[in-house]
């Protein structure tokens, strides 16, 4: 090192002497000192560059890379405009990519925050647990992936190779919670007693659940999530051992889960409490989960090291088939032959169970990831184009260096070091862009809770990813221009530039047109008629079932609620329903198997329909319509003739050719209902969803003595109507406080879940589509910005260097043909999205409109550019003098 340093010093001495000697000579020839100095420096060249180039010769590979980076940083000031453009370009590209990766990482790549997540396996693989019947075989092809509690206990005791096996409910249940003066709705998850020990999740404070807690009749206990403890209990340590009231039953909190623990699957709203499955009959009216045929648990086991997964899988499958063949529900004539096909698949769940949340967000995420990669590509192309211009400008320097014996590899290495440095600076700024973008995405997707495990801030692995992307992208956009400008064919430069310009025009057009199509589709979906009037309608959710009312107290409760809500200022009318329109987000939906006394109907007389229970006059309140027959009346009570109103879709499905009014049908063992009216179809699930054949029953027409416990349970569950619809005279500023006050007057312990307008329900329903459409538009804007900036730079360079206007013409021709190719690509892309996301894109008109707008945009740009060129040209002194001389002639 000291030897090398001495060399460097010697070099400086030589150069200094060189300059001094030359200056002296020039002064001797009669030049002034300043002049001599100027000439000397001009003829010598850049001293710093000469020194750097000389030193480089003595450097090893690592040192040369370091010196390249140092030099690149030093040089940033030199070509500031290009450097800043490249950095900003890359910040956008890398930022977009990182934002999506942040979400992909959080949702599907991050290991569960438990000990040794690698040895956790789920029994079962795929399956959307909400889409299937929970009774019978879960999968069509014999894939068994959901389990009943009894089957869980059987497997747990009969398969010792499974070190530990825990069961957990597939969904969370919303319960009313009271603690002191606090009345809230919280989500609980039912888990087996060994849930925490199987997952390897230690508590933050207190203890976790044990098998002793998971016995029917054991003292009710719960573990609270850390964030909920912070939010609702102010992080008070006294919460351990204290009692909260869940669904009007006292439950003791025994522990606070670890801060980072959110359960076995990544969701935007993890449960507030984990409670033993044995508490389910107490807290939930749906106690049927303990029935042998009710499959509603995920099973996760910790498998001992060294156990072979395939063999274990076969063993569990055999045990499953053996057990099924002993169960009466599975040995009916239809079911028995299917037992032989039943099997399980073990899947590693180190990153969490991929449940409903994952299934519903995955596609959107991958789509956005694809779009963000396009943005990154456009950014890289843009940066490459900028560096190509820079490379052209520095061509003399490059040729000189090669002539002096520097290898082409060395020249390229230097250029790449520079682009990587630019890329990394872009990446750092990109982290900020990424945070903002990810935040917008979470906001649009209604997932921006500070208590959610899904956050926009880039984590350490994400930062690593960003750095990697920056380096790879920097190499990519640096190496091509460096390779080309270090060679000696300017043909390649222009060909490459043309390819880059064309690709950029094509990609950004494709992106922005796709965005336009998605926006058009979103607009169309949101402005569909959903079967009810949206204007001035609100839904209030409360939790009657959790507040300890007996069925015989309900009539007076609803009457009191009706009276109080009606008295709220601005309220025109009030109605109640089990499931309010557009309310799949929070409403209760019950799908019932119904049958007709007329045995010929619907082939075999069985069919499925959704049950809703509503108060008299509800259709008017919600802005729905009775098409035929009558609405419910106050006189439709427990003692009068059981009646039902059916929806249009119900009528079409079961009465295609006749008038349904007066016909009768029933579900289970219930008394038969007489059809008294037909209501217009409306979306009672999500605005996003389909129209479902539905029948309505009067809210208070209650059948007390049903023989089948399942029927009785449904009758009870559906009697607890948890939402009210308000029809207002107009906007009301204090609606929320007024409504809360009104309900408090009826019962201060009755928790209110939410108050939402119909409009906001529609808005929530399309959150995924909106996220995709808005973010694609955001990306489209970024692409447009990048592309326009890129074209501007190329055009500017073209103007600076090229005398003839043909260069500009070619450029615009390329841009236009890029656009021409981009539009069909966008339509293909939109078609793909349409199929994947089950949306409808109004193709023709929106497409033509977008194409036209874009075309106009570019024609306008071309017009401006050509005029600008003329304008600039007219300013040049040479042209001016030429023109004036022409004029004089």
């Amino acid at each position: 090192m000291s030897y090398r340093h001495r060399r460097y010093d010697d070099l400086s001495v030589s150069i200094l002497e060189h300059l001094d000697e030359k200056i002296e000579e020039l002064i001797a020839e009669g030049l002034s000192y300043e002049e001599a100095e100027r000439v000397t420096h001009r003829e010598f060249g850049d001293v710093a560059v000469v020194e750097e180039n000389s030193r480089e010769i003595w450097q090893g590979p690592i040192e040369s890379v370091l010196s390249d980076i140092r030099q690149a940083l030093f040089k940033l000031g030199g070509s500031a405009r290009i450097a800043v453009s490249v950095v900003l370009t890359m910040a956008l590209g890398i930022g977009a990519c990182t934002a999506i990766f942040t979400l992909v990482h959080t949702i599907s790549l991050r290991p569960l925050p438990v000990s040794d997540p690698q040895s956790l396996y789920r029994i079962g693989d795929t399956g959307d647990p909400l889409a299937n019947d929970r009774i019978g075989f879960p999968g069509e092809d014999g894939d068994f992936y959901l389990f009943s509690y009894i089957l869980y206990q059987h497997l747990r005791s009969s398969i010792p190779e499974l070190g530990q096996l825990a069961a957990m409910g597939v969904g969370h249940e919303s319960v009313a919670m009271q603690h002191g003066t606090l009345t809230l709705n919280e989500d609980v998850e039912y888990v087996s007693g060994n849930y925490f020990s199987t997952l390897g999740a230690a508590p933050y404070m207190g203890r976790t659940l044990t098998d002793a807690d998971d016995i029917i009749g054991a003292p009710p206990v719960a573990v609270i999530r850390y964030q909920v403890w912070q939010k609702d209990f102010g992080g008070d340590p006294a919460v351990i051992g204290s009692t909260v009231i869940l669904q009007s039953h006292p439950v003791r909190i025994v522990g606070v889960a670890a801060q980072e623990f959110f359960g076995e699957q990544v969701v935007s709203n993890p449960p507030a409490f984990w409670v033993p499955i044995a508490l389910q009959p107490l807290l939930s009216k749906y106690w049927a989960v303990l029935h042998p045929e009710e499959n509603c648990f995920f099973l996760v086991g910790r498998i001992r090291h060294g156990v072979e997964i395939d063999a274990l899988q076969r063993r569990i499958s055999a045990e499953l088939r053996q057990w099924l063949s002993t169960q009466s529900a599975y040995t009916t004539e239809i079911n028995r032959p299917r037992i032989a096909k039943q099997h399980v698949v073990l899947t590693p769940v180190s990153t969490g169970i991929r449940g409903y949340f994952y299934q519903s967000t995955r596609l959107n995420l991958y789509l956005l990831l694809g779009f963000s990669i396009v943005i990154l590509l456009i950014a890289c192309i843009n940066a490459a184009n900028l560096l190509l211009i820079k490379g052209e400008k520095q061509r003399v320097d490059t040729i000189m260096r090669i002539a002096l014996g520097a290898s082409r590899f060395r020249v390229i290495q230097k250029a790449v070091a520079e682009s990587v440095v630019l890329g990394c600076i872009g990446g750092l700024i990109g982290l900020v862009v990424s945070y903002a973008t990810a935040h917008i995405i979470l906001r649009l997707a209604v997932m921006d809770s500070p208590y959610s495990p899904i956050q926009a801030a880039p984590s350490l692995p994400v930062t690593g990813f960003t750095l990697l992307v920056a380096v790879v992208a920097g190499t990519f956009f640096g190496i091509v221009p460096a390779w080309i400008t270090s060679g000696n064919g300017s043909l390649w430069v222009s060909v490459t530039r043309k390819i880059l310009v064309f690709t950029q025009a094509c990609l950004s057009t494709a992106l922005i047109v796709t965005a336009g199509l998605l926006m058009a589709s979103l607009w169309k979906m949101e402005h569909e008629f959903f079967g009810v009037e949206l204007r001035d309608r609100y839904v209030v959710h409360f939790n009657v079932s959790g507040s300890g009312y007996r069925p015989d107290q309900l009539a007076s409760l609803y009457s009191a609620l009706q009276q109080q809500l009606q008295a709220v200022p601005g309220v025109r009318s009030v109605g109640f329903s089990l499931c309010a329109p557009l309310d799949g987000f929070e409403g209760t939906t019950l799908h019932m198997k119904i049958h007709f006394q007329d045995a010929n109907r619907n082939g075999g007389s069985l069919g499925k329909a959704a049950l809703n229970r509503v108060s008299p006059g509800f259709f008017d309140v919600a802005g729905g319509r009775i098409l035929k027959g009558r609405d419910f009346r106050e006189s439709d009570t427990a003692v009068s003739q059981p009646v039902a109103i059916i929806s249009e879709a119900f009528a079409k499905k079961f009465f295609p050719d006749e008038d349904p009014i007066g016909h009768r049908f029933a579900h289970g063992e219930s008394a038969s209902y007489q059809i008294v009216g037909i209501a217009a179809d409306a979306k009672y699930l999500e605005a996003r969803g389909d129209i479902v054949p539905t029948y309505f029953r009067p809210m208070l027409q209650w059948q007390p003595d049903l023989r089948d416990p399942v029927d009785e349970e449904f009758e009870t569950v559906s009697a607890y109507v948890n939402s009210a619809v308000l029809y207002m005279n107009g906007p009301s500023e204090h609606l929320e406080t007024d409504v809360r006050e009104a309900i408090r007057r009826v019962n201060p312990q009755l928790p209110i879940r939410s108050i939402r307008s119909f409009d906001s329900l529609v808005h929530i329903s399309f959150r995924h589509e909106r996220t995709i459409a808005y973010i694609t538009t955001l990306f489209g804007m970024m692409a447009l910005l990048l592309t326009v900036a890129g074209f501007y730079n190329v055009a500017r360079y073209q103007r600076e260097t090229s005398e003839q206007p043909t260069g500009m013409r070619t450029l615009y021709r390329l841009i236009l043909s890029g656009i021409a190719l981009g539009i069909p690509i966008a339509f293909l892309c939109a078609h793909f999205i349409e199929v994947q996301l089950h949306i409808v894109i109004p193709h023709v008109w929106s497409g033509l409109m977008i194409a036209f707008v874009l075309l106009m945009g570019y024609v306008f740009a071309e017009y401006i550019m050509s005029h600008r060129k003329r304008f600039i040209a007219s300013e040049s002194p040479l042209r001016q003098s030429m023109r004036s001389s022409n004029f004089n002639q």
């Binding site: 010697d10 001495v13 030589s14 000697e21 060249g45």
Partner: protein, 121 residues
């Protein structure tokens, strides 16, 4: 950019050859070397003068030259470069291969000239 074509014609190794050839006569310091090459080549070397230094460093590293402390014509401290035996050998080799190449080019050019004469006659 304007005079880039002239630089482009400088083939790799040309500068090195000129340095070796100049130092064959006597050891020189940097500025003297530049002046010598400029005069001898009738100002063909229009490259920036500084470009000689990286070339000198490379040749030092390859052992073709050695340098020692010395003083310039004006009495200032500087480095004096001289040829080593390896440098002398390299010069010989380069010269013979350069001459071969030069002969080759000359032959091609004369053939071209001959054929042009033949065509015009």
């Amino acid at each position: 950019m304007a005079n880039s074509s002239e630089h482009r014609d400088l083939f790799p190794g040309a500068l090195e050859l000129m340095i070796l050839h100049s130092l064959r006569l006597k050891p020189m310091h940097g500025y003297a070397l530049v002046k010598h090459i400029k005069q001898a080549s009738d100002n063909i070397l229009r490259a920036e003068e500084g470009s000689i230094y990286p070339a000198l460093q490379r040749m030092l590293k390859d052992g073709l030259l050695e340098s020692e402390e010395g003083v310039s014509a004006k009495g200032r401290p500087t480095r004096i470069y001289r040829l080593t035996d390896a440098g002398r050998k390299r010069l010989k080799k380069e010269l013979s291969s350069f001459e071969e190449m030069y002969d080759g080019i000359a032959r091609v050019l004369s053939v071209a000239r001959l054929s042009r004469i033949a065509m015009s006659s």
